[in-house]
């Protein structure tokens, strides 16, 4: 990408809108191609706002007794799913928030939800089991018990689901009900991200390291030296850069050339307290980070993982989640006090660069 070098953005956060939910906001996402923004709070309140204005469209409280744990918004359609401590998953309509289907997964907490990229399947992690349902809530597949509670799930392609738990990552072909691959490592894996082509598997580990594997070669490596556990990971859309949390700095590993093995990571020192959320823009090399100190920063990265901030704002309290609008022209952050901030994100450039208007 030689054109990236001449790209010199002067972007910034512009005032957008703010709103409030009832409790600590833990999950958020854009629905209806950015027309709607959905926020969930820890107590089980769910709120839908107009994407442009922040005007409330609908809200509901106490959706999951004991509290909400996850939200997943359908990539194409007009539905989203929520899960909670009650062991239930609700599939809801975006327009009114009405529950279309409630799935009872049993007694355990349902902590993770992921729609497949084409939106045909919803993967659900509940305690040691993972199951897959279709859009109308019919069970299509269920796993055996994992060795421990499943800590992360993600789709590697339309029929293949990756799960992480203590000691291993497993790839399941959920259509043919078989295990495609097992990657083992004695450690508690707390987070997982796949590169967009599905080859690189990166996991944050409880022992304050990032472990990754290349599925094609079976090679693996461990990146140590983090002060805390890297609970947040994000790949850029080209799969070149992996941004990781684990302290107040953002550590970025570059997979260009022979890296990241044997290379020094890029490091971004923007925050005074540990990173609490991390997300690359949908296109391009912009990474947004939120911190326990309440700051939100967008940084433009170079191929080596280093980079400069292009915009910053204060969200008021610990940033619970951040989300780029699908067109990358707005960034949303929700915080521990239940405040929602949405900024217009504008990058002025001399050259056209894909992903930015």
């Amino acid at each position: 990408m030689p054109d990236i070098e001449s790209f010199s953005p002067r972007g910034m956060f512009h005032e957008g809108w703010t709103a409030e939910v009832s409790d600590y906001a833990i999950a958020c996402g854009w629905a209806l191609k950015g027309k709607q923004f959905i926020v969930g709070d820890v107590a089980g309140g769910i709120f839908a706002f107009e994407g442009d204005t922040g005007k409330i469209i609908w809200k509901k409280e106490n959706t999951h007794s004991g509290g909400l744990l996850a939200i997943a918004i359908h990539p194409e359609g007009e539905i989203f799913a929520t899960s909670g401590q009650d062991g239930n998953v609700q599939i809801c309509n975006c327009h009114e928030g009405k529950v279309i289907k409630t799935l009872d997964l049993g007694k355990g907490w349902v902590e993770h939800l992921k729609w497949s990229n084409d939106g045909l399947f919803l993967a659900i992690a509940s305690s040691k089991k993972v199951s897959v349902f279709n859009e109308i809530g019919e069970e299509k597949w269920i796993s055996e018990d994992h060795p421990s509670t499943v800590s992360a799930i993600t789709w590697s392609n339309k029929n293949e689901l990756a799960t992480a738990c203590y000691g291993r990552v497993t790839f399941f072909d959920i259509v043919n009900n078989k295990t495609n691959q097992k990657l083992e490592w004695q450690g508690s894996l707390v987070s997982m991200e796949l590169s967009p082509d599905g080859d690189i598997v990166a996991c944050g580990s409880q022992d304050n390291s990032v472990h990754f594997w290349r599925r094609s070669t079976g090679m693996d490596a461990e990146m140590t030296g983090y002060p805390g556990k890297p609970s947040h990971l994000s790949f850029d859309d080209s799969g070149k850069l992996l941004a990781t949390s684990g302290s107040e700095r953002i550590t970025v590993w570059s997979f260009i050339g022979n890296g990241p093995e044997g290379t020094m990571p890029g490091e971004l020192f923007h925050h005074t307290e540990p990173i609490s959320s991390l997300a690359f823009s949908n296109k391009g090399m912009l990474v947004a980070s939120g911190s326990r100190d309440g700051s939100v920063v967008a940084s433009f990265l170079k191929n080596d993982g280093n980079g400069d901030p292009v915009g910053a704002a204060f969200a008021g309290d610990l940033v619970g989640a951040i989300s780029w609008r699908p067109d990358d022209c707005a960034l949303a952050a929700v915080n521990a006090k239940g405040v929602v901030n949405v900024w217009e994100f504008k990058v002025r450039t001399n050259l056209f660069s894909k992903g930015f208007k």
Binding site: V42, W109, S148, T149, Y166, Q186, K229, A336
Partner: protein
């Protein structure tokens, strides 16, 4: 966030049937003004009657480096990670572990995981013991002895099912295993709430304020007699007894009240820690010194006590007076002066269990570098077997007392209050499995200046 803002967590351990759930319900039903969240690993027969109860299966996560101190409890990290977002709903957390849980990883979770340690503070480990069954359990399983070893408070429960004599024996066995714990006897888990909650057992500053010494009393002497003596010369006369020698500390101005006796005992414990001077029969007994009476000869042996002005003398003796038919006799009148008051003490004795406590008490200063080297080596070699460490040390050149504590290899040391006029001394307690007391004491002695 300061420790004051962190949510305190009490860990409740004990074998199945020891009464954990009963105690839990007792705590929850009491009017203590706290909103308590409960994390429960054991699905007992007795239900818990309260709102915020979270069930979680215990998940012990070892790390790839194989280091035992990095082993944490994944279930607690998950549940507490969620609970910290609900801080407006509770101000205290109780974790009830399964009967077979190893308390090490539970405790370590609060030190090893940054997210958890930034929001929660481990307040204390409370272990319930079924007085009727613990003897067998200790013989059969490592877990029960580890639960005893880790405890800040041991609740000796179901005492109504056991005789007083058996309880005394059991208590002394438990005391041998863990000398820094507080033992509370209870029927039906009935204990005052303040003895199990808000202990700040991991906040050494607090503990030392309440209890100037970590060690629960266990004395190197069995008996004290207080004698009211006029000025003059006296003889301490002993017949043949069970030992060819006996240690003794004589204190002038010894009061007779329980409090004064305990003060005297505390003072004598320190003196007993020093090397004894040997006295032959006929020698004069000095005051405020650890001495060792030679009693090898047959028949009566006399030692001299000189009293300059009327005072009460306290004799803190290794064995009871009765064992040697010990008497105080006024020399010129040849009449026996009976003691005004006597007190028996819980004496040290042999340790049978693999798990035990080692206490090191020494006056003087230590060389910080030597101590670090010694502790570093000790914990890396024996860290697996050392469950808990607590103590305070006097660093040479440092006006403040250094307090420290550890769980396995995890170890923290911090400066505490200034010594002031107090004599400089060191007190260390190690609780662990198969520890070599002599070796450790010698190791520590080499760090002394």
């Amino acid at each position: 966030m300061s420790i004051k803002d962190k949510v305190p967590v009490t860990i409740l351990t004990g074998f199945l049937g020891s009464g954990k759930t009963t105690l839990l319900n007792r705590i929850l039903s009491e009017e203590h003004g706290k909103r308590i969240a409960v994390i429960e690993n054991e699905y007992g027969e007795v239900g818990i009657d309260q709102g915020l109860v979270i069930n979680a299966d215990e998940e012990v996560f070892e790390m790839s480096n194989g280091c035992i101190c990095c082993t944490v409890r994944g279930d607690l990290i998950r549940v507490l990670g969620n609970l910290m977002k609900r801080r407006d709903k509770f101000d205290y957390v109780l974790v009830e572990t399964t009967g077979l849980a190893d308390p090490g990883p539970v405790a370590q979770t609060f030190f090893m995981d940054e997210e958890i340690s930034s929001e929660f503070t481990l307040d204390g480990i409370v272990t319930l013991v079924d007085a009727a069954h613990i003897d067998q359990q200790l013989g059969r399983s490592d877990e029960s002895s580890e639960q005893v070893a880790f405890a800040d408070v041991l609740v000796l429960n179901k005492t109504d099912l056991v005789s007083d004599d058996a309880l005394d024996t059991l208590e002394s066995r438990l005391r041998d295993m863990n000398r820094m714990t507080r033992i509370i006897r209870a029927e039906n888990a009935k204990v005052p709430i303040e003895t199990v909650l808000n202990l700040s057992a991991f906040d050494l500053d607090q503990i030392l304020k309440r209890r100037p010494t970590f060690l629960e009393p266990e004395y190197p002497f069995e008996w004290t007699g207080v004698y009211d003596l006029d000025a003059g010369k006296y003889e301490l006369m002993l017949e043949e007894g069970p030992d060819p020698e006996m240690s003794l500390v004589a204190l002038a101005n010894q009061g007779e009240s329980e409090e004064e006796l305990k003060d005297g005992a505390e003072c004598s414990v320190r003196l007993y820690a020093e090397k004894a001077n040997t006295l032959e029969p006929g020698n004069t007994i000095p005051y405020g010194e650890h001495i060792n009476l030679k009693l090898e000869d047959k028949g009566n042996k006399s030692f001299i006590l000189n009293i300059e002005k009327p005072t009460k003398i306290g004799l803190f003796t290794q064995h009871t007076a009765e064992e040697f038919n010990m008497k105080v006799i006024k020399s010129d009148e040849n009449n026996e002066i009976p003691f005004n008051n006597e007190r028996f003490w819980q004496a040290e004795h042999e340790h049978d269990d693999e798990v035990g406590s080692i206490a090191i008490e020494r006056f003087g200063d230590v060389d910080p570098e030597k101590l670090n080297t010694w502790m570093g080596r000790l914990l890396s070699e024996k860290g697996v077997d050392i469950f808990r460490t607590k103590g305070f040390i006097s660093y040479s050149g440092n006006p403040r007392r250094i307090v420290f504590q550890g769980v396995h290899m995890l170890f923290t040391a911090q400066p505490d209050k200034e010594w002031g006029n107090e004599p400089r001394r060191n007190q260390l307690v190690f609780i662990g499995r198969n520890l070599n007391e002599k070796e450790m004491q010698e190791g520590f002695d080499k760090c002394l200046i």
